[in-house]
Symmetry: C2
Subunit: 418 residues, 2 copies
């Protein structure tokens, strides 16, 4: 347990750190099912912007229209996408079946699927899993981990995060689980994220709060640039804390920061578990002409296959960095740009000896044979690499996260089932 | 020698297939220099749209403003990009030095560089190479190949193409060389292409003709999506054929087709030589709402890291194809789409037994265990893979080319010099 500078206390328990939440999950081979219960919650969701969407996305968009949910049923192993009318029927059956088992109206149950696209749902496997999971629902840290495991596909470990903050002396909690390691992309990849909170927040503001956090977290990570058909992030607020986090049309800043924290923490966990990833990359932009430009520049660098390959090869190839900024579409002038590389942000610690400028105000400091280049090459051997880029134009800022491109990415995606 | 359906005769000789063109090239380790002479030519060029551009791109944009060129000097091994004022001085020196050696005014000499970004030009290596090359200029097929070799970087072989057409009974020739295998991207990658012709075509129309061809060729190939700082395609027309190819404000269709042919042929050679590429991918779109939409869809599929990995793994993963179309930004409806895969275009040969439908009018024909999927899996073992996608919306068409994503791509770009 630790408390960071924003007075956010990191706690255990994942989605079950939040009172009133029950869950369970079972993973059986490549298939898995999780059910999450948070009765009478206000709910918001963000979905993929791919024009091809899975049956459960179509379903969840419909049931969340009234801003209310009590449960989520999710499966891994099959994405139930591009499966035609069969897929819609299978999704409806899953929700109806779950509805009967847990005794919750079907219009209060969201659903998700993740896995292979374009294959019929193996209902003979999924249905018995739902039956078993429905009998195991409990409020415990273990249950949250089980649920996180049940939704994994090529993930190598479950992903959870939970925090507590104090609002006017009263504790408010936020917990989350997610899965995702391939197809992590601009505007989200094949990722599922379920976040619970005991805050009181109404339908209008829960949407705003979730979108604020998603724009800084799940939308700022890139593994391969492919955008999934199934991406779904859902926030459930059951009000059990009796703390209202909106007053006078303004969302409490500490609550928003805590929600940002949970989403960014989960997003970073996904990138660290990126398919075949050996290195974790953070790219901070400042001095951009606008926040939008900063987003373009940061995402372009974390998406560059050439820089991702250089990262794998531990090569501080700032030429590829500046080139990626140059084609990002952001306003930029190579004659005034500054670029540093290392293991921590030079923006945050200007005197850091764990980061070094390669280019400063347009002047190249890392030609062959220079101390700066030699230092940079040494720093590249670490797992965590931070690139800071100051465009020196205005005050637009953004941070994006990514990973290297390794042999294993190709192996995993070349061999992943047909 | 062969003649295709458009009466385009394929001939030998590269840029020297065109009378009046002299060239030479020397490759020495990773460095190389080529000089191309085509006196008093009308000239057009297309450049990278990256905001970071190399010194020779700045230079060539300036000298080509009057639409006239007599020579090109190009080097490989160093891109002379992001090299500050040193870079501009080095580029000017290269052009001045070449000007003296070959006795052509420096404002009639274009220049290009390709190789590592952000390193000072090794003038002690490049200058002696220019001296030697300037003494070897000849009009021969061997010289064209030498020039094509001299500009190679990670290319594994030189790339040339030449054709002859008849316009009102008189022969007109077009020849080209190019280099490029990494950073091949939308809007061109680190590619250099030099095309010569003996046609008479004035400054206005030579620009239109080149842009027409580039939009169908170099702009439709993708290896890794990174866009280079140095891309340059130059067309030189010296008029030696005495055949005017523009009449009444219209570019002769056979000339445009022949120029398209040379550019597409060179572009395909680049993709086939894509870094680490084992497979060649052609994606044909028809039925798009607009030509622009067709371009978006075709480029999205050839750029998808997931489908490129599937290609490497010989997996006919149409789920990834339809997903890539879905996030491309083009208008599409998964319920009416048709997708085929194989070794030749089903659009061209509807009865082909070397291609098979995976999805037809939204109906999935390639579920597990189906004959179509089994056939598709067999066809994937070939080197050349063609994907035809009919969006069934309107009449927009486009073709893009790409390659698989292999271990070797990562190896080449992870280890390519810092």
């Amino acid at each position: 347990m630790s408390i960071n500078e924003d007075n956010i206390k990191i706690i255990e328990g994942g989605i079950c750190a939040v009172s009133g939440v029950e869950t369970a999950g079972i993973k059986q081979g490549k298939y898995g099912v999780a059910i999450i219960l948070s009765l009478d919650s206000n709910a918001a969701a963000v979905f993929t912007s791919n024009k091809v969407v899975a049956a459960p996305v179509i379903h969840t968009k419909e049931v969340i229209k009234d801003g209310k949910l009590s449960a989520i049923v999710a499966n891994s192993g099959n994405a139930n996408c591009f499966t035609g009318s069969h897929g819609i029927e299978d999704c409806e059956y899953i929700v109806e079946h779950t509805s009967k088992l847990i005794n919750i109206p079907k219009d209060q149950i969201a659903s998700s699927s993740t896995g292979v696209i374009g294959r019929k749902m193996p209902m003979d496997i999924i249905e018995p899993l739902i039956d078993k999971v429905s009998l195991k629902l409990t409020h415990s840290a273990e249950a949250s981990t089980d649920a996180a495991k049940a939704i994994m596909t090529t993930d190598t470990h479950p992903k959870e995060c939970a925090v507590e903050i104090n609002i006017e002396g009263k504790p408010v909690r936020i917990g989350g689980i997610c899965k995702g390691s391939g197809m992590i992309a601009p505007n989200m990849g094949t990722m599922l994220a379920y976040i619970t909170t005991d805050a009181i927040i109404d339908s209008k503001y829960i949407n705003i709060a979730l979108k604020n956090s998603v724009s800084k977290s799940f939308n700022m990570i890139v593994v391969d640039g492919d955008e999934s058909t199934n991406d779904t992030a859902i926030l459930l607020a059951n009000g059990k804390s009796n703390v209202e986090v909106v007053s006078g049309d303004i969302i409490n800043k500490d609550f928003q920061k805590a929600l940002d924290y949970v989403c960014i923490n989960l997003a970073k966990q996904m990138v660290r578990d990126g398919e075949g990833a050996n290195k974790f990359l953070e790219v901070n932009i400042k001095g951009a002409s606008s926040p939008t430009d900063a987003v373009l520049a940061s995402k372009s660098v974390v998406s560059s296959m050439l820089f991702k390959s250089a990262l794998f090869g531990e090569d501080p190839n700032w030429g590829r960095i500046v080139s990626a900024v140059g084609y990002s579409g952001c306003e930029m002038d190579p004659n005034i740009i500054s670029i540093s590389i290392g293991n921590e942000s030079i923006f945050e610690k200007p005197d850091s000896d764990k980061s070094v400028y390669l280019v400063k105000n347009g002047e190249i400091l890392a030609f062959e044979g220079t101390d700066n280049l030699i230092t940079a090459e040494k720093l590249m051997s670490s797992t965590d690499i931070v690139v800071d880029i100051d465009l020196n134009l205005s005050d637009g800022e953004a941070t994006a996260w990514g990973c290297d491109l390794s042999y294993d990415y190709v192996k995993i995606n070349g061999e992943y089932t047909t």
